[in-house]
Amino acid sequence: MAESRTKTIRTDALARVEGEGAMFVKIEGDRVTDVKLRIYEPPRFFEAFLRGRAFTEAPDITARICGICPVAYQMSAVQAMEQICGVEVGGQLRSLRRLLYCGEWIESHALHVFMLHAPDFLGYDSAVELAQENPALVQQALELKKTGNKVMAVIGGREIHPINVRVGGWYRVPRKPELAALVPALEQAREVALEAVRFTAGLDFPEYAQDYELVALSEPDEYPVDRGRIVSTKGLDIDVAEYDDHFVEEHVAWSNALHSRLRERGAYLCGPLARYALGADRMSEAARAAAAEAGLTPAERNPFRSIIVRSVELVYAADEALRLIESYEEPDAPAVDLEPRAGVGYGCTEAPRGILYHRYELDEDGTILDAKIVPPTSQNQRAIEDDLRGVVERSLDLPDDELSLRCEQTIRNYDPCISCATHFLKLEIERS
C-alpha cells in the first residue's frame, strides 16, 4: 500500500470576509479527511447584552452586530417586538421598511460582487489591485454602493446604523419629494446592475454543484425581503414562530459560531441562491429578463454562480425601490401606538446573506428576558464546510497556492458575515 500523502491547507486570517475567520483543510492521499471553518465570534455576546434592556433598544443594539447589514438586524428585531406587542406595521410604514432594506441589499451586494468576489474570478489579489487595473469597474461599484447609502440615509436618517427605525414604525417618515429625489440614482443603479449581470455571467466558473436543501422566506406575491413564511426546496413550509421546532444550533469544538442544522435533514443553505430558487418567479420583469439572458434558472445549484444571482438581485432591489417610491403616499402617523406586554415574539427577514432569525421574550414592562439571534452565516456554516470538502476533492491536482485560493473563493460564495463589527487595526510597531 502506498504511503499516504498528507497535505494541510491553513488560512489563518481570511481576507475579505467579515469578522475574523480561519480555515483548515486536511488531505490524506486523494481524500479530504478534515474541514474546519473557524469563526471567532458569535452574536451570543450580544444576546447576553440584550437581557435586561428595554424592548425599544433592540433595533439599535443589534444593528451594531454587523457593519454591513445593520438594517437586517433592525428589521428582524422590530418584527419580533411588534409581534409581542400585538401590532402589525403595514401599508406605507411597511413599504418604507422594504425600501430601506433595498438600500442595504444594493450597498452590500455591490460591495460583495465587485470588490470581494470579482477579484477571485479575475485573478486579482484584492479590489485595490482590481482598481489599479480596471478603475471603471470599481468606480461603478462605488457608485452603486453610494446609491444604496443614499436610500438608507433618506429613510434611515443616516447611512450606517439607521437611527430612524423604531418598534412600531419610524420616528419620522420622509416627504414624497425626498424619495422622488432618489429616482435618477436608482434608475442609474438599475442600468449598472444590468451590466453587472452580463459581466458576471461571462466569468469562468468552476464546475461544481450540490443538491442543497435551500431555505428562504416566501410571500405569495413578492420576492422575499422583509417578511414571509420559511420554506425550502425539500418541502419545509413553516411560520417563523415554528423555527426552533425545525432548526437546531450546535456547538462544534473548532468554532465559536454555532452551526445550525435542520433537525430532520441536516445541512441547508440560505442566501441569494436559495431566494432565487424559491422566488425567481416573483422578481421584477427586468430582473427576470436579465436572469434569463444570463442563463440562470431556479434550478441553479453551482454556488460559484451566486455572484450572478447577487447581480440579478441588484437589478431587483433597484426596481423594487423605484416601485415603492412611485407608489409612496405619506402616512398619517410615523408609527403605530403600542404598549409592551409579556410574551415571546419571532422575527425573520432576508439579510443580504440569507435569513436572519430573532426571538425575544419580554416581561410585562417590555424588559428583554431572553434573546436568540441566528445569523445567516451560522446557518450556512455546514454547507460551506461540505462545499469546501467537495471543491477540494475535485481540485486535488491544483498546486497548493491555487487550491488555497479556490478554497477562499468557495467561502466567499457565501459572503460569510462573521458577526463581528469591530474594525480596530492590527498594528505592529517597528522601531529602529
Binding site: 451594531r64 457593519g67 470588490m115 470581494l116 478603475p135 447609502n149 487595526l425 498594528l427
Partner: protein, 146 residues
C-alpha cells in the same frame, strides 16, 4: 470610526463627539460605524482628512500613533488584520487608486485595551482622548491657516 458597543473600539467616535463644535465651519466632523469603503464617497473632494481609530498591537493601552497616509500606502501590516472586509488601509489604497484620496491624510491610532462587547472606554484610552482631540484641532487650524 469605530463600534460604539465595543468598548475601546469606540475611541474614534468619542474623540469625534468632543471635536464637534470646536472646529472652524470649514471642517466637518463625522462618526462612522460602517465598513471603511463607505467612507470613500464621503471624503472624496475634501482637501484634508484626519481619521481616528482604535488600534491593537503590543503597545501600552492609550498609546497614540500618528501616520501620514497621503503620499504612500499605510504599511501593509497596519491594516492586515482588520476584522472587516476592507481594512482602513485597504480603503485608503482603493481611494488612492481611483484618485479619490484627499491631498492630506492623517491617521491617528489609539491603542485599545478591551474590544469586547460593552460601553465605555478603559481608563488609559479615555486618558488619551484629550491629546487626540487637541492634536486634530491644532492640525486642522494650521491647515486652514495655510
Amino acid at each position: 470610526m469605530g463600534n460604539a458597543l465595543r468598548r475601546d473600539d469606540a475611541v474614534g467616535l468619542v474623540a469625534a463627539r468632543r471635536l464637534r463644535g470646536t472646529l472652524p465651519p470649514e471642517a466637518e466632523v463625522l462618526e462612522w460605524e460602517g465598513e471603511p469603503t463607505g467612507l470613500i464617497e464621503i471624503w472624496a473632494g475634501a482637501d484634508a482628512l484626519w481619521l481616528i481609530d482604535a488600534v491593537s498591537s503590543d503597545a501600552p493601552p492609550g498609546t497614540i500613533s500618528r501616520l501620514e497616509a497621503s503620499g504612500e500606502d499605510l504599511p501593509k501590516r497596519f491594516g492586515g488584520g482588520s476584522t472587516h472586509h476592507f481594512s482602513l488601509a485597504e480603503a485608503l489604497a482603493l481611494a488612492r487608486a481611483l484618485g479619490h484620496l484627499p491631498r492630506h491624510v492623517v491617521v491617528l491610532g489609539v491603542e485599545g485595551e478591551r474590544f469586547d462587547l460593552g460601553e465605555g472606554l478603559t481608563a488609559a484610552v479615555e486618558a488619551a482622548v484629550p491629546e487626540v482631540v487637541e492634536t486634530v484641532r491644532a492640525e486642522v487650524e494650521r491647515r486652514l491657516a495655510r
